[in-house]
């Protein structure tokens, strides 16, 4: 660490929907924010991936490449689920969670629709060339589901107050209770649900 370098008060890694908002609020409040953003940025198919021609493209374009991403709602399907991996273990020897997920027709159709919208926006903004990332990603940053909320104990894990159908004094807070992903950041909704769970807990304890 260079002791002469300007110091930041806050280091933000990742400037997505959450990091970007935090950076905005913190800088307005006078904090010095150091923002780190990194990730693979695919090249257009016409550009070589190494050598002089690649370098020339980087030099000419590195400051004028932008990207857009869209989140589409992922519906609940019984075939998409979490369970314990039969073989993989974490460093403590415990089985890790295995994610079984496949984008269905609804998700693929809405993604295709959004891709065309994004392309239209970029071109309207003056983009000379647009290209797609190599693959559509299942977002690992905004995780939802796993303990779905519902009235039916057969098809959900927690009830409408966030308490487990199976273990009634176990409450679950967070977006794991959301049956589907929204298009927007879920913090306000998850906080409202946490409030609701806490109130329910108080109410139940008073009844005793």
């Amino acid at each position: 660490v260079n002791p002469q370098a300007p110091r930041a008060d806050v280091l933000l890694i990742g400037l997505g929907g959450a990091g970007g908002i935090a950076a905005d609020v913190l800088t307005r409040a006078g904090a010095r924010v150091l923002a780190l953003e990194a990730g693979p940025r695919p090249l257009p198919a016409s550009v070589p991936r190494w050598g002089s021609a690649w370098k020339a493209w980087l030099k000419a374009n590195a400051q004028s490449v932008g990207y857009l991403t869209a989140q589409v709602e992922s519906l609940s399907y019984e075939e998409n689920f979490l369970d314990l991996d039969p073989t993989a273990r974490d460093p403590f020897g415990l089985p890790v969670v295995r994610v079984t997920h496949r984008a269905r027709a609804n998700e693929q159709t809405s993604a295709a629709f959004m891709i065309e919208k994004l392309r239209t926006w970029l071109e309207a903004a003056g983009a000379s060339e647009t290209w797609l990332a190599e693959r559509l990603a299942v977002e690992a940053r905004h995780c939802y589901g796993g303990t779905h909320m519902g009235d039916d104990a057969e098809h959900s894990v927690v009830d409408r107050f966030g308490f487990s159908h199976e273990v009634p004094n176990l409450g679950v807070l967070g977006t794991s209770t959301f049956p589907t992903t929204g298009g927007h950041n879920p913090t306000l909704t998850l906080q409202a649900l946490a409030w609701r769970t806490a109130e329910r807990l108080v109410e139940l304890s008073r009844r005793r």
């Binding site: 260079n2 110091r7 010095r32 780190l36 190494w50 002089s52 370098k55 980087l58 400051q63």
Partner: protein, 154 residues
């Protein structure tokens, strides 16, 4: 190769390989000037320790194919022959992963923070016109028609 540095032979092959991935040319200095190999050697002794074996096997295989096709070491071939071998390495199922590994590490060494041993004299950032991380931007630097200079470095 479970401990210590790459052998002199492997280091020479790696340097030649990096020279072809990011050559010095009319667009500016390349991997050699940015000391990308130094970054990779340091990383293989630290964070990228688990990739040492892949380097050992990948560089050995590249050398073997250079000797088989040209009767000389990879580092002794001309640029065109090296590029042909590298393109084959990039394509072939058995070596594509090694090629991607080195390419990824070359990008890290070229464009990462110089504190990790590469991007010497900010050569990588200069290529991208990237001024470096900074915590403040003056009002003037935020004008659309003003190109920011490099970040102040003590």
């Amino acid at each position: 190769v479970t401990a210590g540095r790459l052998s002199a032979e492997h280091a020479a092959i790696l340097a030649a390989l990096l020279d072809r991935l990011i050559p010095a040319d009319e667009h500016g200095p390349g991997a050699q000037e940015a000391r990308v190999a130094r970054y990779i050697e340091r990383a293989l002794a630290a964070k990228h320790r688990e990739h040492r074996d892949a380097y050992f096997r990948g560089l050995s295989a590249l050398q073997a194919s250079a000797r088989a096709s040209h009767g000389a070491g990879f580092e002794q071939l001309d640029a065109e022959a090296q590029d042909t071998l590298l393109a084959a390495t990039e394509r072939a199922a058995g070596s594509a992963a090694f090629f991607e590994l080195v390419r990824t590490h070359a990008i890290e060494g070229m464009f990462g923070d110089p504190r990790w041993g590469g991007n010497h004299a900010l050569i990588g950032w200069a290529l991208l016109d990237y001024p470096g991380l900074r915590t403040e931007w003056s009002a003037r630097e935020q004008q659309l028609d003003v190109a920011p200079g490099p970040a102040p470095r003590a």
